[in-house]
């Protein structure tokens, strides 16, 4: 038998994008050997054993000759088990067990089990996207990923459960069937979750603040004693945000798929709510690793990133959030390449008023030493607070409120008001690059948040009497703009400004309970 060369196209996941990789298999007479070159990592090296066993256990012959596999481009590091399927296909063609030219039209991606089964891979949606853009006709993926890969529509997606099924299809045999998916229909039929704003008893002021925050996309900080219901309320924030659009859902799905976190369905249909623990590392928060994978901030794309006990997070982790908060994306640079992850989320923080949590509580005395109070406050100030438009105090609910039965559902009604306010914003902001009031830059704030004299006077008074800072001024304007949008008005009134000022950052001395 003469030496034969075969090529198969597959994809490597780089961040949330897929990079085309060509698997070249060369079979040469000689002592049996199996070498993979082209900067493979350990998982790719182990691919040899999986492919060998899968081929044999699927009834194929494993060529006992000198096999060289190259993963091109050869200068980029390849990681993970997703190349198995393409490798096996290339070997089948090179060894003459699969005839014709089946690998020119279809790309392949999948992990093989020793028994020849095909296991799901991460990033099927990104691969389908890259595959369509590369002009290939179709993509062969694990059956479990077929739904996800066919979300984009433009591609012939073939889901295979076993190596044998793949070979049969490529040999011109039966095309394995899978359900057609339509992202719009999936979104429309997504069941409502069990969460509703009405389940939060009392806390009318907090709910109002959540409504405003959702309407303008404003980042929010809740300050209140432990057990006052901050995180319960935050978890219900996604239920009042507008439903995901198809484009948004696809972006979210792409990130979750790249992280291997896609649940049962092919599409993420609800806005993500991510609540990392305060011990999270900065890599865990914004993404990282030798092969960069998305962090919590990216997983919260188009949803909510909830940081409970904000002051307890490590400072480097909080600092790392600066870039996503400003740019809506995270760039991770490695020596070889840099990867950009999307990270456009609403930041919701929760914190106790002081380390012991009882500052300002009528019934308990705060026992924190002044020095630790100052340190605690210092943690909450600075660049992160710059990006938080609203700060709301949360008090413990009263006994009566706790004893009252569950409230009527509210999320639908609030969500409708929020959606209307968002619609007004996208109309006004069309072409500006910003999508909601929270994203207005300093220049846009001055341009788009015009005040009448009475409203201006209120802002001046807040500046003088309440020591509103310059950045507090801009934040109040953005929130006031949202309040007018919620009310369906173009003009910002004095009432809007007065409300917005109530959500300002309080002076450290005010929180410390001292007068000067």
């Amino acid at each position: 038998m003469v030496a034969v060369l075969a090529r198969a196209v597959t994809f490597a996941l780089v961040g949330v994008d897929a990079m085309q990789v060509t698997v070249e298999a060369d079979i040469h007479p000689g002592l049996p050997a199996f070498t993979i070159v082209g900067l493979p990592d350990a998982a790719v090296q182990e691919s040899r054993e999986r492919v060998r066993a899968a081929l044999v256990n699927s009834g194929f012959e494993f060529p006992l000759r000198r096999i060289t596999v190259n993963l091109a481009p050869a200068d980029t590091r390849k990681a993970g088990p997703g190349f198995d399927l393409a490798l096996a296909a290339a070997l089948l063609v090179a060894s003459g067990q699969l005839v014709g030219d089946p690998l020119s039209a279809y790309a392949l991606s999948g992990e093989l089990g020793l028994d020849g089964s095909v296991r799901p891979v991460r990033g099927a949606l990104a691969m389908a996207d890259a595959c369509a853009r590369a002009g290939l006709r179709g993509l062969v993926v694990p059956a479990a990923c077929a739904g996800e890969a066919s979300l984009l529509g433009a591609l012939d997606v073939v889901g295979v459960g076993t190596l044998r099924a793949m070979a049969d299809f490529l040999a011109g045999g039966e095309r394995p069937a899978h359900d057609e998916v339509d992202p719009a229909a999936l979104l429309a039929s997504a069941p409502d979750g069990a969460l509703d704003l009405g389940q939060v008893r009392g806390h009318r002021a907090l709910k109002r603040a959540l409504e405003i925050a959702a309407a303008g996309g404003h980042n929010l900080l809740m300050v209140g004693p432990p057990g006052s219901g901050k995180s319960m309320a935050a978890r219900r924030l996604p239920t009042i945000m507008p439903p995901l659009t198809v484009a948004e859902a696809l972006e979210v799905t792409r990130v979750h798929s790249a992280a291997g976190l896609l649940g049962a369905g092919p599409l993420v249909t609800r806005r993500p709510f991510r609540a990392p623990h305060h011990t999270v590392s900065s890599a865990g928060l914004v993404g990282g690793g030798p092969v960069p994978s998305p962090g919590e901030a990216s997983l919260a794309q188009h949803g909510v990133l909830f940081l409970d006990e904000l002051a307890e997070f490590a400072r480097p982790a909080l600092e790392a959030l600066r870039q996503p908060l400003e740019e809506g994306s995270i760039r991770i640079t490695r020596s070889q390449r840099s990867v950009t992850f999307p990270a456009r989320f609403m930041l919701v923080g929760a914190t106790n008023p002081c380390p012991c949590g009882h500052l300002g509580d009528e019934r308990r005395h705060c026992s924190c030493p002044d020095s630790s109070l100052r340190r605690y406050r210092a943690k909450l100030s600075g660049p992160l607070l710059d990006r938080i438009d609203m700060i709301v105090r949360v008090a413990s609910p009263s006994r009566d409120e706790l004893m009252a039965g569950p409230g009527a559902p509210e999320s639908a009604a609030v969500g409708a008001r929020v959606a209307a306010a968002r619609a007004r914003q996208s109309e006004r902001l069309a072409g500006t690059g910003a999508r909601c009031n929270a994203e207005l830059g300093p220049a846009q704030v001055r341009l788009l948040c015009k005040l009448d004299p009475a409203a201006r006077a209120a802002l001046y008074a807040a500046h003088d009497r309440l020591r509103l800072s310059v950045r507090g001024h801009d934040r109040a304007l953005r929130v006031a703009r949202t309040l007018a949008d919620l009310d369906g008005r173009d003009t910002i009134t004095r009432g809007d400004v007065a409300q917005a000022v109530a959500y300002r950052e309080h002076h450290a001395s005010e929180l410390l309970g001292s007068v000067v």
């Binding site: 002021a205 002044d370 609910p397 001292s514």
Partner: protein, 361 residues
């Protein structure tokens, strides 16, 4: 005006022994008893084996050098042998030997001519406590009553601020040296008090405060005040120590009542239960000091508010200060939040650390 050598030496000795005085305190020997010991006995009680060293250092004491040091720090000294020394501090076994003063020492005369009031309270008070202390002291100062306090965070600072606002004399008694602002975050207040009032201490210039010097300072505050008023404090707070000193000295005791459920009000409420004068406003204090009806009553603040704001203000005055309790739905909440901010802008309400609104006094 300057302190005589032996008094100055005693003051210097306290500074020298500062770090170890706590050793002489025990179950049977309270602070006044220790401070009441004469120099030799004090050294003996505090120093133990190091006594010879301290005695030697004391023998080398240079009064002129100490005066130069005080002058360099901008401090004047006064001792009981001077006429200007505050009369209320002359008596008792633990009477103050020497006071270091920051500010114009001639202001001491006012303390002998007028009855002063000491106002003390929690370092981390509620907004209600802060507002009450500030307004009370503003009105006391405006009525010509010197206000004595300790420049601590919270109520003490509010008391000084109020007195400065009212344009009257205010005296800060520090636990450390008078030339050092303690706590350091009150450096600005320290400067302003020294400019129009007095900062005093029984410790020599440069001395940091010691654990024992806080209650020792409290005894001076209680001594200076014809009446000591506790605004807020828990049951075992330093404010109640001051109140205890005032009681021991036979001075009047006043307390600003608070919510019975509030831990911060537990101290003053307990004092009231034991017979302290209820202090609701400056009128109660003036009545107690000068006899009923003799004090000038400040006119109630008048503000023209629209009906909506007036109703909100009334609700806050009734103690319903949380937005949650004031609005039943989202739309009403918008009006309530906006209205409360308007009241805040007018200076009629303020928000406390828990996010509730209280009436500004």
């Amino acid at each position: 005006m300057r302190a005589c050598d032996p008094c100055l030496r005693r003051g210097a000795l306290l500074g020298m022994l500062g770090p170890w005085i706590a050793r002489a305190l025990g179950q049977h020997r309270r602070l006044p008893a220790v401070l009441g010991l004469d120099d030799d006995a004090l050294v003996a009680a505090v120093c133990g084996r190091k006594r010879a060293e301290v005695d030697a250092e004391l023998a080398r004491f240079d009064a002129a050098g100490m005066r130069r040091k005080a002058a360099a720090a901008g401090l004047a000294t006064v001792c009981p042998h001077a006429e200007a020394f505050p009369a209320p501090l002359r008596h008792g076994p633990d009477a103050v030997a020497a006071l270091w003063l920051l500010g114009d020492p001639s202001r001491l005369h006012a303390l002998n001519e007028e009855q002063s009031v000491a106002v003390v309270g929690a370092r981390r008070p509620s907004a209600y406590g802060l507002e009450t202390a500030r307004a009370l002291c503003r009105d006391l100062a405006a009525a010509g009553v010197p206000v004595v306090s300790g420049m601590a965070l919270g109520i003490d600072s509010a008391a000084h601020e109020g007195a400065l606002e009212g344009g009257g004399l205010t005296v800060a008694v520090l636990a450390g040296a008078a030339d050092l602002a303690y706590p350091r975050s009150r450096a600005g207040l320290h400067r302003r008090i020294a400019a129009t009032g007095l900062v005093m201490s029984e410790l020599p210039p440069g001395a940091r405060p010691f654990r024992w010097s806080f209650p020792a300072r409290n005894r001076i505050m209680a001594g200076l005040g014809a009446m000591t008023i506790v605004v807020e404090g828990t049951l075992n707070s330093g404010s109640l120590i001051t109140a205890g000193f005032a009681q021991d000295l036979g001075r009047d005791l006043g307390a600003v009542p608070g919510h019975v459920t509030s831990v911060l009000a537990a101290g003053p409420n307990a004092l009231i239960a034991e017979g302290a004068q209820v202090v609701r406003s400056v009128a109660d204090v003036l009545d107690a000091l000068y006899g009923a009806g003799s004090g000038p009553l400040p006119a109630p603040r008048q503000a023209a508010l629209d009906a909506r704001l007036a109703a909100l203000l009334e609700a806050v005055e009734r103690g319903t200060g949380s937005p949650d309790a004031l609005a039943s739905d989202s739309q009403a909440m918008a009006d309530v939040v906006a209205g409360l901010t308007e009241l805040e802008l007018l200076g009629l309400v303020r928000r406390d650390a828990g996010g509730n609104y209280v009436r500004c006094a």
